[in-house]
């Protein structure tokens, strides 16, 4: 086996075999090198990129099918031009709106609202949920109130919130916040409540005071749930954004969609939908990366 990895490359008398090195135990570094040499090297960056892109084949099929149906369908039914513009029309709509300098504003306004609202939901919802999971008595007190408000759809809050905050960012952020808040609270609660009893006991028997126990045991144990809650909150937040902006907003992707409807510009409508989907995807990806970074011990 001439090409097999060698433990001690310097020593020509014992090439390649661990057992050939009689008497002298191999050093830790030599073993580490051997282990490293046995792991196949990671594929080059371009190969990884290619394999990642090739995973999107179903999406590509979907877009191409959409294009073909829109193009050739028009011969059968001319109304299809308005009912379902092809992807190329959506792209030119985007170019059009970028040229007029409005698209980026819509995107940024919506993004800002969602991030503000979900951020507020996390800042308030995570501690509330953890506290509810931590203390039975607190949970017993808060739970009825929370479960009473939770089933009320964010849409039902729109009229009242307009009376409270007027038309504008605050009102929209409030609607998104309401939507994102509950999944954050409920997941954080589940995380704090399901901490393994024996881990809490281990902490206590090693001398952890309540505050330390919370920071070193309950919080890390709940972290995966907290991230899940924020991710769900983000997804629901996007849904609420469009609802909020449809009714009363001076800007944003929801506003853009609604405005395009009155102008019969279905290409703008589709563009708005596509952008919301894409932004949701990107934000979720970023959240997953953040979770991986924050919890190196936790592999999905």
């Amino acid at each position: 086996m001439p090409s097999s990895p060698s433990l001690d490359g310097e020593d020509a008398r014992s090439p390649g075999a661990l057992t050939a090195n009689r008497g002298m135990p191999p050093t830790q570094e030599a073993l580490a090198r051997l282990a490293a040499s046995m792991v196949p090297p990671p594929p080059p960056a371009w190969k990884r990129a290619l394999s990642r892109i090739s995973r999107l084949w179903l999406l590509a099929v979907f877009v191409i099918a959409w294009q073909l149906i829109s193009m050739y369908g028009q011969r059968v039914n001319p109304q299809l031009d308005v009912m379902m513009p092809p992807p190329t029309a959506v792209i030119s709509a985007a170019a059009d709106l970028i040229a007029r300098g409005v698209l980026l504003t819509h995107i940024l306004d919506s993004l800002k609202r969602v991030l503000l609202a979900v951020g507020a939901a996390a800042v308030l919802g995570v501690p509330l949920g953890l506290a509810m999971g931590w203390s039975k008595r607190f949970r017993a007190a808060v739970d009825p109130l929370l479960e009473f408000i939770r089933p009320i759809p964010p849409l039902a809050w729109i009229p009242l919130s307009i009376l409270w905050f007027g038309i504008g960012d605050v009102q929209i952020v409030y609607i998104i916040f309401l939507a994102a808040f509950f999944p954050v609270v409920l997941n954080s609660l589940a995380g704090a409540r399901d901490v393994d009893t024996y881990l809490v006991r281990a902490g206590l028997s090693l001398g952890a005071r309540p505050r330390e126990l919370f920071l070193t045991v309950v919080l890390p144990a709940a972290l995966p749930h907290i991230f899940t809650g924020i991710r769900i909150g983000l997804g629901i937040g996007w849904m609420a954004l469009v609802a909020g902006e449809l009714v009363a907003a001076p800007s944003g992707l929801g506003y853009m969609i609604n405005n395009a409807r009155t102008l019969f510009r279905s290409d703008y409508i589709l563009l708005g939908m596509v952008l919301i989907g894409a932004l949701g995807l990107v934000l979720d990806y970023l959240m997953r990366q953040a979770a991986r970074f924050a919890m190196p011990w936790h592999r999905q």
Partner: protein
């Protein structure tokens, strides 16, 4: 001097379906300061339950447990626990796990580092300091959990089958190390095990628990000098005696449970 006083302790567990179960009945014994005290008994006889009471994780239904004359009300590092399920923190590395109790004790930083290194070396895990528990084998996890408990230098060490997942050679090595530590840094050890031979090798006294309800059937004193030779006729004799007794208990238990099980099935 008596350090641990278990006075007429009974414990009822209530199952998830709400059925009460008598896990311990009138358990009554005392452990001397710096004594090595083992508890043996068949699976499910209430050993872990007793340890949970000693650790202060749970309160007895009847009776009282005292340490140094004071009733046990809560856990604390002076009664460090080696858990049957290891109970390592998955989000901390091996070194961070071992260090956990030292940080809670506010041990000075350089001393922490020295102790962590010492105990990781003692349990043979040098080179694994920065691994997460999930990346270790069962026996390695068990050794981390032993190092974590030893590092805080408790006056009472509560160990729940601490060597159960180790191979024979590692187990014997760990037994010897535990004895050395116990002789060097005097502490009371309450040691749960399934292995009669292990109990006889290590202990000053052995409490034998009988199952359903869990109760102390007998306390044997082992007064052979250490290190003990497992082939010494006196040791062999004692081991045979305890094993025979336990086998009979387990057998009796099976027989007394069979008709009950039969009846339950018939009722379905």
């Amino acid at each position: 001097m008596i350090q641990v006083d278990v006075a007429n302790v009974s414990k009822v567990h209530v199952s998830m379906k709400g059925e009460p179960l008598l896990a311990l009945l009138d358990v009554d014994f005392r452990v001397e300061e710096n004594e090595f005290f083992s508890i043996v008994g068949p699976s499910g006889c209430g050993k872990t339950t007793l340890l949970n009471l000693l650790a202060g994780f749970e309160q007895p239904t009847r009776g009282e447990l005292k340490v140094g004359g004071k009733v046990i009300t809560e856990p604390g590092w002076e009664r460090a626990v080696v858990f049957q399920e290891y109970a390592l923190f998955p989000w901390y590395t091996v070194a961070q796990n071992v260090r956990y109790g030292l940080q809670r004790k506010r041990v000075p930083e350089p001393e922490q580092r020295r102790l962590v290194d010492h105990y990781i070396g003692l349990v043979g895990l040098r080179g694994f300091e920065s691994r997460y528990p999930r990346e270790l084998s069962g026996g390695m996890r068990q050794r981390v959990s032993i190092a974590r408990a030893l590092a805080v230098n408790p006056s009472i060490l509560l160990m729940d089958e601490p060597f159960a997942s180790l191979d024979v050679q590692t187990r014997e090595y760990m037994q010897d190390e535990l004895l050395k530590i116990w002789q060097r840094e005097p502490k009371t050890v309450i040691f749960i095990t399934h292995s009669i031979d292990e109990a006889i090798k290590l202990s000053d006294r052995i409490a034998i628990l009988a199952p359903r309800p869990g109760r102390v059937e007998e306390i044997k004193t082992v007064d052979f000098p250490r290190p003990r030779d497992p082939t010494d006729p006196a040791v062999v004799h004692l081991a045979a005696e305890v094993k025979l007794w336990l086998r009979r208990k387990v057998f009796e238990n099976r027989r007394s449970e069979e008709p009950a099980a039969g009846r339950q099935e018939a009722a379905h």
